[in-house]
């Protein structure tokens, strides 16, 4: 028997991914803001003696076909790949969530409800009786607190038991809606389109005026459209409202009715709730921006202090180890390459990576990012973008790859293009390790902060220019602002580890190979050729030693390589003895801006096509040349 598939469906930020990670190990990205899961994650899960495949579908507010996430989920469900669907509901927003549940029931799938965050709901004064909910909906209901792992095993055990029995029956609406549903159903019953889509669901979608489903029917049987429109118009006339308002209103009323029957809402506690007090400060028109700047600078300072402390502890022993093997016969280049490859990972990059990723995870899980988006939306509009772009941007400080993927939450293609292009300019953790490991260490942390500021200004300027080229107005922001959540230390560490694993698995082998190749090239004197080829750029334009040429070449694969190889190419861990302060500044500025690394380019290609990939490579390199050239003069002024 082939493996059974269970799919998780729910509204954004309801805890699907947390639930998924609780049983599947850390494989889906989570975060306290809507739209984290943009494509779906899946993993085999073994419970007792049964193994099933668990799928985490993107969070959606409804089963319409407007947004990419909605289309992904709806198509998946319609293709009937899943044997069972678990609808995860955030109990604190039960009545809204039930509107999605009713739509899932219209799909007539085997369905079950997972009522999550029940304690949070109780704190808010919402007491839900799962039994009543179960009776009202006619599908099994289980309660969980996924963040603590409570009820998770029981949920899946129950799911496996009822998966062949529980099938949702579509909800009934008021008489005149039902009459028109019946009318449309009789029209479309013989269509091929209706073979794979439940008839009632399709009829309702047509009555809502859903463009996607209407065009499916139009393609197959154009003569039916006027007849469907007749039904639709009767409905609109009777209600005096546009069609989608009628059906959605019916669902809303039914959801409220079920909610009122199953939940008891007690008055909120006296006094201002914690959330509002904190929001009043964090989202304040003046204090909010000071906090935003403080959070940003604090993030970098803390990363630098923890990172440089750790790096100092590790550098010494590796240095001695390297000296031990230097110049000892033909195999010594390989030994030195291996040691420096490992040292580069452990001693130079990792110390900065760990605190940075940990702090970013903390910011994400607490729920700060949507609030930053709220504050920055007005400013972003002047750049021709909107606040949602802030989320990919902030994620970009960790790594550009997930940040470029997060740009999917931006609906308009125009905004997405600009966001993708700008996201690749954000100094990711690899570039941060170069900035902190060189600039902050040798020139002082203020120089590093200044570089981040210059980067933000450049982003604003480029965004402003790009939006002039694309005149179309940017649509406004709609973003849910979730409650604050205090993540557990364990979940933060797991998330940090999940991202570090990416470094260990993909980056380290490249760094190791790169180090060995560099040693071999030096041994064979090939590095001189590369350096000579790059000399017009490095020596003439930027005033750097020719030896850095080869590091810039390797940096295209991974940005960390530039730092690690710089030590290697110059033959010392004491950079100050071989590079002047100006040269360090120029080198770091160039590395911060020049061509995005291969993984970033690959994901840009996948997400945005060749146009944005080329635009990004060209833009970044041009900026790097101009800014690094200017940095020469800044250096001359400050370090005579």
């Amino acid at each position: 028997m082939s493996k059974r598939i269970i799919a998780l469906v729910g509204q954004p930020n309801c805890g699907k991914s947390t639930l998924f990670n609780a049983v599947a190990g850390y494989k889906a990205s989570t975060g306290n803001f809507p739209g984290v899961t943009v494509s779906y994650a899946e993993s085999p899960v073994t419970l007792g003696e049964t193994t099933f495949q668990l799928v985490d579908l993107p969070g959606i507010y409804s089963l319409s076909t407007q947004e990419p996430a909605e289309r992904v989920t709806l198509e998946y469900l319609l293709e009937k790949e899943a044997h069972f669907v678990i609808n995860v509901i955030d109990a604190t927003t039960l009545s809204r969530s039930l509107e999605l549940t009713l739509q899932l029931m219209e799909l007539e799938l085997p369905l079950m409800i997972c009522l999550n965050m029940v304690y949070e709901a109780e704190k808010k004064g919402i007491l839900v009786d799962p039994q009543t909910l179960e009776t009202a909906l006619g599908v099994p209901v289980m309660t969980t607190v996924a963040s603590k792992g409570w009820g998770v095993k029981e949920l899946f055990a129950q799911a496996l038991e009822v998966m062949d029995k529980a099938r949702a029956k579509p909800p009934k609406y008021s008489l005149h809606v039902e009459r028109e549903v019946g009318c449309v159903k009789s029209l479309i019953t013989n269509l091929k389109t209706a073979k794979n889509i439940p008839l009632r669901f399709l009829a309702l979608k047509l009555l809502e005026g859903d463009e996607y489903f209407t065009s499916l029917v139009r393609n197959e049987a154009p003569h039916l459209i006027p007849k469907v429109e007749e039904c639709l118009n009767r409905l609109v006339k009777a209600h005096g409202q546009p069609p989608e308002m009628v059906i959605s209103g019916e669902r809303h009323a039914l959801a409220m009715h079920i909610f009122e029957g199953a939940a008891k809402v007690t008055a909120r506690e006296e006094g201002t709730p914690f959330r509002e007090k904190l929001d009043a400060v964090v989202m304040d028109p003046i204090l909010g921006y000071i906090i935003l700047a403080g959070v940003f600078l604090g993030l970098l300072y803390l990363t630098f202090f923890v990172g440089s402390f750790l790096a100092d502890q590790i550098a010494g022993p590796f240095d001695r180890l390297t000296q031990l093997f230097q110049g000892r016969g033909a195999w010594s280049p390989f030994m030195v390459g291996i040691i420096q490859g490992i040292a580069g990972g452990v001693g130079i990059v990792l110390p900065y990576l760990v605190p940075l990723l940990f702090l970013l995870s903390l910011l994400e899980d607490i729920g700060y990012l949507p609030r930053a988006a709220f504050l920055l939306d007005g400013l972003m509009h002047r750049m021709g973008l909107h606040g949602k772009s802030v989320i990919p941007f902030i994620l970009g400080y960790g790594c550009n790859v997930p940040s470029i993927m997060a740009a999917r939450i931006i609906e308009s293609p125009r905004d997405r293009f600009i966001t993708l292009l700008l996201a690749s300019l954000i100094p990711c953790s690899a570039r941060t390790s170069v900035i902190l490991g060189l600039q902050a260490k040798y020139l002082g942390p203020l120089w590093a902060m200044a570089l981040y500021m210059v980067n933000v200004i450049v982003l604003g300027f480029v965004g402003f220019l790009l939006s002039r080229f694309q005149k179309e107005a940017s649509p406004g922001l709609i973003l849910e602002i979730p409650p604050y959540r205090l993540p557990t230390l364990a979940s933060l560490w797991k998330k940090t580890w999940y991202r570090l694993k990416d470094f260990a698995v993909y980056a380290w082998p490249i760094i190791l190979a790169g180090s060995i190749i560099l040693e071999a090239l030096t041994y064979l004197h090939v590095d001189k050729t590369i350096n000579a080829l790059l000399a017009p750029l490095t020596v003439w334009l930027l005033g750097l030693p020719a030896a850095v040429g080869v590091t810039l070449f390797f940096g295209i694969f991974r940005k960390e390589l530039t730092l690690i190889m710089l030590f290697q190419a110059l033959g010392t861990f004491n950079i100050q003895s071989v590079l002047t302060h100006t040269q360090i500044l120029v080198f770091v500025v160039f590395v911060t801006f020049y061509i995005p690394c291969l993984s970033t380019l690959a994901v840009l290609w996948r997400e945005g096509g060749w146009k944005v990939t080329w635009a990004s490579a060209l833009l970044n390199t041009t900026l790097a040349l101009v800014l690094a050239f200017l940095a020469r003069f800044v250096g001359m002024a400050f370090f005579p």
Binding site: Y61, S62, S64, Q66, T92, T93, S95, R96, E99, L100, K124, I126, E208, G209, E211, Q241, P242, E244, M245, S248, G249, H252, E276, D279, A280, M283, P285, P370, A373, F374, L375, L376, D377, G378, L379, H381, R382, H386, G387, P475, G476, L477, I478, L479, E480, I481
Partner: protein, 86 residues
């Protein structure tokens, strides 16, 4: 006395009841699915500077949405009687 306004015209802290949602099919659909319906009581919690979005709380369901001003202007509301003249 009842006043018909849109969300943008409310002052911060003011409560109102949604009457209808203007705009195209797609826009209405999104607003509805994110949980703002005619009949819902809402409150403007705060406004973001630089003509940024409004923070709207749905008092019936207890969640907050950031809504750009252009969009908020398409959500028509009426102010309950006791709320007028404050």
């Amino acid at each position: 006395m009842r006043a018909n306004k849109n969300l943008c015209q409310l002052t911060v802290g003011q409560e109102a009841v949604i009457v209808s949602i203007e705009g195209g099919h797609g826009f209405r659909n999104r607003i509805l699915s994110m949980g703002l319906h005619p009949g819902d009581r809402v409150k403007v919690v705060r406004a973001s500077p630089f003509r940024g979005p409004l923070l709207i709380e749905n008092l019936d369901q207890g969640f907050c949405l950031a809504l750009g001003r252009g969009m908020a202007a398409k959500v028509l509301v009426e102010i309950p009687e006791e709320g007028v003249g404050e």
